[in-house]
Amino acid sequence: MLHILTKAPGSDAAQQMQQAVGCEDAVLLIEEGVQAALKPHWEGWQDYHSRIYLLAEDVSASGLGEMVDAHVFPTVDMNGFVSLTEHHLQTVTWY
């Protein structure tokens, strides 16, 4: 399952998503979700470390490019977003 988070890491939507992410699931952070780059200690970074991604276009629109580079957080572009949806049967958006 792919989880798309569109809200900041402290939001209700984020907390609800965190309850639901299984150990085979991937997480994509878009829109306000990219603010997770400001929270290197957010549980998400530990819990899903190898399967969490930031949408690159939304990172640069938010002015968070430097933060993402500094922490080497993984990003995908729009094509990578499409690939993630190909590889997971189900997609759930948390907004």
């Binding site: 209700d12 907390q15 309850q19 150990c23 759930v92 958006t93």
Partner: protein, 121 residues
Amino acid sequence: MTDSENLLVIIRHAPYSSNLLREGLDAALVAAAFGQPVDLLFLGQGIMALLKEQGSGAPGQKASLPTMDMLEMYDIENLWTSEASLAAIGVPSAALRDNVRLLEPEAMSAFMQQYSHILNF
């Protein structure tokens, strides 16, 4: 017409704050009317729709209680919520309608995997 593809509708918004609760329930009712097995999961603010006392309706706004009561008529009998969400919003389980079932935190992911389709409101 029945259907083996089951649907989970997740409700995460409170009755009067927006029309998301209402429009989420409508999607569940239509799926059920099409013969699709439907379960409902209430998280976060959505839990406010499960309060027993709830439903008198803010003056001038349509109450959600009638829609909630229609669920049973359409054979939507499984209303779920999560223990973690319940604790976070501060609702005691005694305040909930009778037919609500609780998911433990570890069970949530496996629970969601059971469904062919999910709609998240």
